[in-house]
Symmetry: D2
Subunit: 489 residues, 4 copies
């Protein structure tokens, strides 16, 4: 199984089929998980639409059974529906065979606990060491192997539950184009949207096909561009796109094009805080728009490391939402990232308020922001440069700082509302800088100063900067603030 | 069951759910069909995506079982796949619950015989009289009721069979957008096209939903317009659209827009006659383009009444194709109209020849044609006017006629290749005129003369013409002939 | 539907297939029940092994769907598992297609409420009047018909739940022969018994077959005799037999042969009252053995009408058991009669106490008892005779009475522990007399006196007694009392 | 996988679960078989009732899919139904997870070719070497893994096919008790027998349970004794018992008890030869009764090695039957051993002839026969002793021999109809002697002479005979000959 090589990455086990992800590995993971949770009870097994997914799910379920635990086979389903099935069936854990937005020749395995929540890193390490040490010891004897339970209705119960929560009787007129990347949400999100009251639902790439014949399953702006254009020809109010397993949701709106994630989070935070008081957990890279909306509505912002909002959420009893770009958890619904629920919630807000998505966005604050990546030769260079840049920053860029937050990199917040975040990439040899300001000029200025520091520090340390990637997002009509807590009612 | 009211229309039983088409009717039809074919053996039951279809299929299957015949439940499937399942399983007949392209609140029942072929009118009448006389007498006793066989793999075998026939290894580059009207072909045609070698398959309205949230299920030019436009934004070589149960296929091609049916028939006739000699059965309203292509390739045209090409086909041992607008039967494949096979065949021709659909169409003949409907007060007026117009035509419009064909109306063919068909609508109080000429001027002329005759005859007979509907199709680049039998190779 | 004829009998709808019980009736019942419970939610549908049961279940489920309620299809299952499924799935009601112990050409329908409990007579009457008035008005429109949910795991969950409750680790040696009458418990009771710890499980007539090729499905002494003999050849400690749908359980034990129901009830009452205090609900015909055991253990006896113990149970908060011959409800488990649970409980008691069934029975009291039926010309004669006999009895047989109980006939209890019950049969033109005494002589005496009164009264009233059926049960080793509350520990 | 250890034994792969037979091995066998037959097409996977069988079948099917071949999952089924499914579905091969009559903690894998026939030793060796060399090279890439096809109706088609062939309308009265050892024929043989016309079908141990709670799954005389006794209590005409996977059928008949295999073979040979001329393939140990019947009816006997009748059958175009004790192949039906078909055929003969099984047996010849095993210290001793005994025999016991057959040991046939077969056990350290004579005295004599030779030879060679096992079968009413070809009509 590869000695000291880490099996689980930031998104579970993922890689090229037959190279990293093999049928045998799926069996071992199933068996190891059965051993980990102990014999008796059940583990849910679901899978995405990839050509190799039914096979890997069959192997994982076999592993579970071989380990003395019943396997509840949910079949093809989006990732959040797998989490839902774990909770609904009272299972001890769930295994989802998916490589999310990777290309069709890849596959992977995600594991969730009995609450449907991603494993913590510690739990992953325990599983890794079980697999590394050899799973044979967990094989149950002939009279205690688990059985296979086919539970095909689970996905339908998941859909019904969302429909019951998001349905709006006599809501406004709303037409939506949905693009599921030919993934696991193909027959799910469109049906939910129509059922809750969306007037017209057009679909693009919504037949399941593990070859992904329509588009790359990652819902990036460049990938979605032609489909946003095609949906414009249909005159819709919103374009909603998922990745392959539907934990992610991208939004396109006329006048906004591809809507940046901070605006989506701000919209949902606004909606949740109108319903009840509480805090909003966000990762350190989430921008000012969210902060402004949350504070206007009397909520509080809790900052978390990237990729760890779910763990933070557990510690915050009064949290009404946890979000980072591409990940949104509504604890009223469940402790998992759910792109389908998110899509339904956006439509629900629009239908309930009788405002189009564009009108909703128009009332939110919107400020310039940037994301810069410095590409380095290796992880070692990355780490060294990061240390020194942080050191340097603490001297030269903290003049007007009103807050310094040292989790997952260093975030510096300034008096004028601008902020800066420097951190190491968790998976690539890159130094990342995030910045935002009330006006474009201040942002450009801030970026220039950071760049100078990075360049000089690198030069001093003899570290070569291979290249720099910079993405700046500007509000189409110029910066603007939030129009107030009741603006949208 | 409505005494003398005819139960089966031109497309089987069809109408508003609960008004004409009820659960009880489905049970009665199932039972009557079991009685008709005799106890023992099996009958296939399949259904489209409508909300009431699973219920009606369950009732029809129950009727079959109650009549002492096994019901092979294929589940949700396109109409042609139901026919295929009948043949593959050696069943005596098939029941398909579908209302094809009707609105979502309608439903219907189609019946096919052991060859997968539509019933003849005589067979339908026999069934009607069984149902009218009361089906109770066909209930089998407790020890001979049929059993239910779930055969979910049938649709997959259907798909595999088409893929095996239409697959092209190393074919040309071809990108296609498919629109299944959220109907029963949603997960079928796109997968087949990708599997046979189509480079890129985009889908529109291809998640099954019996509410038809994207578009009306009839693939008419006006309905398809926005989707042809949206697919243009994706830059495809062809746009393929089905109706709700996928016996129909509409084609959109850049430069042609919505392609007229005669061109599609001509293309397929060309392909089939290149493979082997034989005749082509067409209905009387099929145009000169098909005739020209068939004759150039040494085939012969057999004319049939509208809606009866399948019966004619049985009498023609050497027929390689039978076609009328929206209906295409390839006897090498099966004796049923199959829009999915047709879509695969079009893609197969393009991939095999390495010509884009546009290039293929460019080489076919294309002449001006027209379809005119005179709307009348009732069926009585329609019939009277028809008699007199035909009488009148036989005097004044047969001067240069080279042929007069009196089946299903009267068709007059002229020396210069133009032709005229006058017939009564089978379902509406309309007199229909079809015409075609080599040049637009001649066509306009011909239509004017017909119009004069119709108007004068009506006036003389005291029949009021409520209105006239006229649809003229002109070749975009002017009239043109066929570029020869080997032009496309 | 037969105007004023009562549709539901004492055991639901039951009769000859195609005569009384038709596919159409099953559809109507499903639709009526959907109308009764209101649209939305779900209704469980299950069926026994009869040849017509899958068809009737399909029709009933179709009726449910047509009425706008989801049908949860549990498939072939024993009656108590259907009740269990209703509760587990949170359904509004359940439909069970079964004719219990009737011959194979019969079938029937039983309905349970959301607690899995038989309908009350009032509820049945409401359903009857809905069906009589015509169910068409309850048909839901196209966009609100219910869906079909296949839930095949329900039976397995039912089995697991009983196993978890009845399992004994390291229990005594116990070998059992099970005879399921080829009915719905065939794959259920034997697996449960083996799983809870029974050492050896032999089965007779335990393959499901709706033709009942082994024996009549009613577990009467005469029917079971050859199978008790066959199981003796296998040397088992107990023979357990069900009827077709497994609400009934008959017990055979070496030295006792076919064990009379009062002893079985007494055994279970003993077990339940050892666990916790409470009352035991029994019908008026239950004998002294049960009373003695219950009183010894400090419990109290609550008398109920025959066939109504489930309704009485609801009024008795502290009841630990409700029982009448062939019907046993343990409220800790569920509010339905459950022959499978009963079988498991008997085995559980034997395994837990490490006493064989024979040893258990040996410690219970056992007194002579009798059941006499006077067959009359019709219901009118029955009712008249009953009135007059009761009148007569109140004069001549109440001398030493310590209690007179006028529910469901008249029961007279005497000082010496003997008792007498006179009642009208609910379904046949018969007058029934039940009697029991401490010694055979007293019993014979009592019967003689009753007989004289009946004969004289009939003669006086000019009513002809067609015949008399008399069944007397005597303790094999003579009368005996209970060996005390802790005798068995 | 154990280097040079032979994986396949005489009955495929078989052994203790987790020791010899592991989930991983099942996957490897599936993958190796896929590699062996080549990608594309399908392989059938079925399994018996053992607790570990669904898991191993899931692994084997996964292996098949991973190797690029579709897996047709038939589910739980008797071994012959798996063979039937291979042929019916046009699959390339079949995998059956079963350990036949081994105890519940064992499991195994049998493989059949595209004709449903056992693999030859050469084919097994090819598979073994693939597995030994490592199967990883046969893993198909992501876009060519096989799919899983659930084909649950296969077993039902198998049953229907036998019923259609064996059904007798208006046949004689016949009551049968069936004992399926709680194995895979539990719901199969009883239903078939009732359907073809058996008047009464009682079942013993006919609920499927992988713990085999009723009896050991091997249908030996000692195992079956109590069940034959129990069925006598039911007064049946015949008792039919299977092993766990139903390739074997044992017969019990009143007056005969456990019927010896030679009589069963003789009965079936008689029936087949009455229908058409041809040869009967038998193994060398099959007795005189079969020979006499075959010759009387004008057929010819072809002798084959033990365990190889299926291979011999392929070479004999006119064979009407191939049989050895416990294995019977009717080529009109299929090229596999089929205990269920055999049971149906026996019932069919009885029903058709209106003779009870006892009457049928009464008309067959029946002679004394014996089977003796000399237990030795090891395989080496066995082989040495065998060589020398054969040498010795050729001198001293061939005086009146009319034939010496040196296949699979040495068989000597004498003028008076008696015969002798000496061979080495294929799996144990035993020397086996089979003998038969017209009269008991001659048999005893023959055995005494053989014994003397064996004992002396062993003594001379210094080989210790651990023990001797002797089983002699005598006709209850004394020896008798066949009553002539038409005796039974």
């Amino acid at each position: 199984m590869g000695g000291s090589v880490r099996l689980f990455g930031t998104a579970g086990i993922r890689g090229r089929y037959l190279r990293k992800v093999t049928p045998l590995l799926a069996f071992q993971v199933g068996l190891a998980l059965a051993g980990y949770v102990g014999s008796g009870g059940s583990i849910v097994v679901a899978h995405d639409v990839r050509t190799t997914s039914p096979l890997l799910a069959s192997m994982a379920a076999s592993g579970v059974m071989a380990g003395g635990v019943d396997a509840i086979l949910v079949g093809q389903a989006p990732l959040p529906a797998a989490s839902y099935s774990v909770v609904r069936s009272g299972s001890k854990a769930g295994i989802m065979v998916t490589a999310s937005h990777n290309p069709p020749w890849d596959n992977g395995i995600k594991i969730v606990d009995g609450k449907g929540m991603e494993l913590t890193r510690i739990e992953e390490e325990e599983l890794e060491s079980i697999i590394e040490a050899g799973v044979e010891g967990y094989l149950a004897d002939w009279n205690s192997v688990g059985i296979l339970r086919i539970e095909r209705e689970m996905l339908s119960y998941y859909m019904e539950d969302i429909i019951a929560r998001a349905s709006v009787k006599g809501g406004g007129d709303l037409s939506v184009a949905v693009d599921c990347a030919n993934g696991a949400a193909s027959g799910v999100t469109p049906i939910i949207l129509r059922s809750i009251g969306v007037s017209r639902v057009y679909t693009l790439n919504c037949h399941p096909d593990g070859h992904f014949p329509g588009r790359h399953p990652e819902p990036r702006p460049d990938v979605l561009k032609p489909f946003i254009k095609a949906s414009s020809a249909l005159g819709v109010h919103a374009f909603i796109a998922h990745d392959g397993d539907a934990d992610r949701t991208a939004l396109g709106v006329p006048g906004y094009g591809f809507v940046k994630q901070d605006l989506v989070i701000a919209l949902l935070a606004w909606w949740k805080l109108r319903e009840k008081r509480g805090s909003v957990v966000v990762s350190v890279d989430v921008g000012s728009e969210v902060e402004e909306v949350v504070e206007e509505l009397g909520g509080s912002i809790i900052r978390s490391r990237l990729g760890k909002i779910h763990e933070k959420l557990l510690q915050e009893a009064d949290a009404v939402l946890a979000a980072e770009p591409w990940k949104l958890i509504d604890p009223d619904w469940g402790l998992w990232v759910d792109g389908i629920y998110q899509a339904a919630l956006i439509a629900h807000i629009s239908l309930s308020t009788r405002k189009s998505p564009r009108e909703l966005l128009d009332m939110l604050p919107y400020y310039p922001s940037a994301r810069v990546s410095y590409v380095l030769g290796g992880e070692n260079e990355r780490d060294r440069l990061y240390e020194q840049v942080v050191e340097e920053l603490s001297h030269s860029l903290t003049g007007s700082a009103v807050g310094i937050l040292p989790i997952d990199g260093v975030r510096i917040d300034y008096e004028d509302g601008s902020w800066l975040l420097v951190r190491k990439s968790g998976t690539e040899p890159k130094l990342r800088v995030y910045a935002q300001a009330r006006e474009e000029e201040r942002l450009v200025n801030l970026l220039a100063r950071v760049h100078r520091i990075v360049a000089e520090t690198a030069s001093r340390a003899g570290i070569r900067l291979s290249s720099k990637e910079e993405h700046i997002s500007l509000p189409p009509g110029g910066s603007r603030g939030f129009r107030g807590r009741n603006a949208l009612l």
